[in-house]
């Protein structure tokens, strides 16, 4: 634990910019939801400030890293910080998976008359047939069909699993200092990420236009779109991170010994991958 040289920056100018940006963004979004005409513009302005902040902050960190200011202890702090951040993301998804399990296993059968729900069913929803998928007793959003697991979703599973393979091949290349192979495998991973997102988008269009499945399709539509939607958002973020890190590979930022920035992105990508496996099993297959 050598920390004699632990790098502590003099000052940090970006955090306050980030706070102001987040505040404007949130203020704008909340106003927008309540129908204020300035809402979208405020949201946009806040988002731009946040993006500038992220760019500037990372630029500072990358510069300091390139100047060799970070010793091994700083590296370990970054690693542990990233692991805990991913853990917090796992818990965010856990809330939505929890909602899915609770609805499927407990509350929908209860409304159907199982367990303690006999009177609810009899008095409120005697007609309700508690089968999954459901849009609830009132069939909110109208009838819908679901997306079969062994079509696009299976293909997307294979794509993400393959991308996990390509990023591992990239890691091997990085550890052997073969920059050409590294960049090649990175680009392959990025392409797979983009293809996944494209297929996911076509699936959404298909659901909305042909299947009648929307965000408003009762509890099924809610859990389906919120889970896959937040996952898609994370894939988008992960793909952007992959692109940035690929550019950094091209700029020669990483050595075979020191490449935490690269690994952080790889960890994040694996996390997104694992969440998808959960989605595939619990949202599509079962």
């Amino acid at each position: 634990m050598a920390q004699g040289q632990y790098y502590v920056p003099h000052t940090a100018k970006w955090p306050i910019v980030g706070s102001i940006g987040l505040f404007i963004m949130m203020l704008g979004a909340a106003s927008w939801l309540n129908g204020a005409a300035f809402g979208p513009w405020l949201t946009l302005a806040g988002s731009v400030i946040v993006l500038v902040m992220i760019f500037g902050w990372f630029a500072d960190v990358i510069r300091e890293s390139q100047q060799g200011l970070y010793n091994q202890a700083v590296d370990i702090s970054f690693r542990q910080g990233m692991i805990w951040f991913i853990f917090s993301e796992v818990m965010f998804f856990a809330a939505f998976f929890g909602a899915l399990f609770y609805a499927r296993v407990l509350s929908v059968p209860w409304v159907g008359g199982e367990g303690t729900g006999a009177m609810t069913n009899e008095l409120l929803y005697p007609q309700f047939d508690a089968t999954w998928p459901t849009a609830g007793p009132a069939n909110l959003g109208g009838g819908f069909e679901t997306i079969p697991a062994f079509g696009l979703p299976l293909l997307n599973t294979l794509i993400l699993l393959t991308s996990g393979l390509t990023i591992t091949l990239a890691h091997w290349a990085l550890k052997k200092a073969q920059r050409g192979a590294l960049i090649g495998w990175m680009i392959a991973t990025v392409v797979l990420g983009i293809v996944f997102l494209y297929l996911q988008a076509t699936e959404y269009v298909h659901a909305y236009q042909d299947l009648g499945l929307t965000l408003g399709s009762g509890i099924y539509g809610s859990t389906f779109f919120m889970l896959t939607g937040f996952h898609g958002l994370h894939v988008t973020l992960g793909t952007i991170m992959l692109i940035v890190i690929t550019l950094r590979c091209m700029a020669g930022h990483f050595s075979k010994k020191q490449h935490f920035g690269w690994e952080a992105v790889a960890w994040y990508w694996h996390f997104v991958d694992v969440v998808w496996l959960g989605l595939f099993v619990f949202v599509y297959v079962l």
Binding site: Y6, H10, P15, F92, L140, S222, F225
Partner: protein, 537 residues
């Protein structure tokens, strides 16, 4: 200011900004700790003012001062401000100041992010408090934001939800920073089982924060989409369930109460040995007890929901699991009492608050045990008994521990002793008034007075008036607290490095006031500097 312990430091000192910029751009754990503590004190006053409105309205039966809608906004906002603005930031502030000093680290592990964790908070609270001035007023559904009520309140809900998201981001980053600091920045020789208990309790609290704040974010996000984007998470007509919100919320909510009390346990475990002039009794069992409480906190959440109509088996499971928590908590109280046993005790203000904590927190713990009993809870649920219970654990528990910590470390922060006479007056005034405030509420609850109600039947009049008088007195006492802090910050008797003659631990080896940079070269740690040195003998 002497820089005796700081070694030849680099360029940092020369260009440290001054004025507002110093505070906006700082990456220093002590300055950020100070910001957190001042913010917390301000939130404590704002939340306290709301409590005064509540107690004034309840002084006599009938509607006097405010309309019921505004009353409900006050109860909701009071809770949100006190939990997320006063108590949690106070403990993060204490951690910022003390954890690096206690483990011999030069600063927090991620100093830039440390700045951001703090500077999100004022903006989040602006977003929250501004809802009071919206046409719809602030949120009025209670701080738990149960649907469907919380979704029927007009424009404020989106602002409140986004404010909670911001607070969550701040808490998660703060927790990550503290955990990484503890795991990665300890001085050589500061093994895990040599760490002061305050550090241990914060390590576990940090884990709880990272585990449950995202779950709260998920819960309020579902509220948002139910309200604005047509989802049916909490709408039975669409196959959802309002009770599902309560499950997700309390999966966050119960660990949250330990987030607010575990660091308090840590503070008390630092103070008692100092003023008993004895090492902490049962150090290792304290660590395991803390970890057990944290583990159990994940499997007891539905004790907040005994009356919503869960299956009997679920009620029983959550009842027994909840009661099991009394075991590790009992271990702690036993250890605290044993620490004082045959000690050479003195009763300076921090010690008085610590003793007040042990007695009064234990009362809150016992009423919690009563609430954990399912058939009894059917009677107590949503009455003033619950209000009395959680104010005993939160005010005479968490807040007393924070005050104890402030008096204990204030000389280290400011370099001056606070006015001991005024400190003692503050303690006795607070302790007497807080009991006048909250003890009658037990009786009100047992007699059936519901919580979150601006008016009540005349049979509750006397106890409400007594409670309100206690409330005003307790509120007034806190102005004295601010004065004492201000006085110590301005001047007074010089504090020595060790401050308290029974104090042990690294934080007492640096000068008072602690210079901006400490432990640039890590200290050597062995059993002689840790507070529980006798443990290994």
């Amino acid at each position: 200011m002497s820089h005796a312990t700081t070694m030849s430091h680099d360029d940092h000192h020369d260009d440290h900004p001054t004025g507002l910029k110093r505070w906006l751009f700082t990456t220093n754990h002590k300055e950020i700790g100070t910001l957190y503590l001042i913010f917390s004190l301000a939130a404590f006053m704002i939340g306290g003012a709301m409590a005064m409105v509540i107690r004034a309205e309840l002084f006599v039966p009938g509607l006097q001062l405010v309309n019921p809608e505004f009353f409900n906004q006050m109860t909701t906002m009071h809770a949100l401000v006190m939990i997320f603005g006063a108590v949690m930031p106070a403990f993060v502030g204490l951690a910022n100041w003390m954890v690096p000093l206690m483990i011999g680290a030069p600063d927090m592990a991620l100093p830039r992010m440390n700045n951001w964790s703090f500077w999100i908070l004022p903006f989040a609270f602006f977003l929250l408090l501004m809802t009071l001035f919206l046409p719809s007023g602030g949120p009025a559904s209670g701080w738990t934001l149960y649907p469907p009520l919380s979704l029927q309140g007009g424009t404020n809900i989106a602002f409140v939800i986004f404010a909670i998201h911001l607070m969550g981001i701040s808490s998660i980053m703060g927790a990550i920073n503290i955990i990484v600091t503890i795991l990665n920045m300890r001085a050589p020789g500061m093994t895990l089982l040599r760490m002061p208990l305050f550090v241990w309790t914060w390590l576990i609290t940090g884990f709880l924060l990272i585990a449950v704040m995202p779950v709260l974010a998920g819960a309020v996000t579902m509220l948002l989409t139910d309200r604005f984007f047509g989802t049916s998470f909490f709408n039975a007509a669409g196959g959802g369930d309002p009770v599902m919100y309560q499950h997700i919320f309390w999966f966050f909510g119960h660990p949250e109460v330990y987030i607010m009390i575990l660091p308090a346990f840590g503070v008390i475990s630092e103070i008692l040995p100092t003023f008993s002039r004895k090492p902490l009794f049962g150090y290792t069992s304290m660590v395991y007890a803390t970890a057990s409480i944290a583990f159990l906190s994940f499997i007891v959440w539905a004790h907040h929901m005994f009356t919503v109509g869960m299956p009997l088996g679920a009620n029983l499971f959550f009842m027994y699991a909840t009661m099991v928590i009394a075991v590790p908590t009992g271990v702690k109280v036993f250890n605290w009492v044993s620490t004082m046993w045959r000690g050479s005790m003195t009763f300076e203000t921090p010690m008085l608050f610590a003793l007040g904590f042990i007695v009064l927190f234990t009362i809150g713990g016992f009423s919690g045990l009563m609430l954990a009993i399912v058939p009894a809870d059917f009677q107590y649920h949503d009455t003033y008994f619950v209000v009395a219970h959680f104010h005993y654990v939160l005010v005479t528990g968490s807040v007393f521990a924070i005050m104890a910590g402030v008096y204990y470390w204030l000389p280290k922060w400011t370099g001056h002793m606070y006015n001991e006479r005024l400190g003692k007056i503050h303690f006795w005034w607070s302790t007497i008034s807080v009991n006048v405030l909250f003890f009658p509420q037990h009786y009100l609850g047992l007699a059936g007075m519901p919580r979150r109600i601006p008016d009540y039947a005349v049979q509750f009049a006397e106890f409400n008036m007594i409670s309100s008088i206690g409330g005003f007195a307790f509120g007034l006492a806190q102005l004295l607290f601010i004065y004492i802090i201000w006085q110590a910050a301005r001047g007074g008797e010089r504090a020595t490095d060790q401050v308290w003659d029974g104090a042990r631990g690294l934080e007492w080896t640096v000068p008072s006031p602690a210079p901006l940079h400490t432990f640039d070269t890590p200290p050597k740690v062995d059993d002689s500097v840790t507070a529980h040195a006798d443990r290994l003998v």
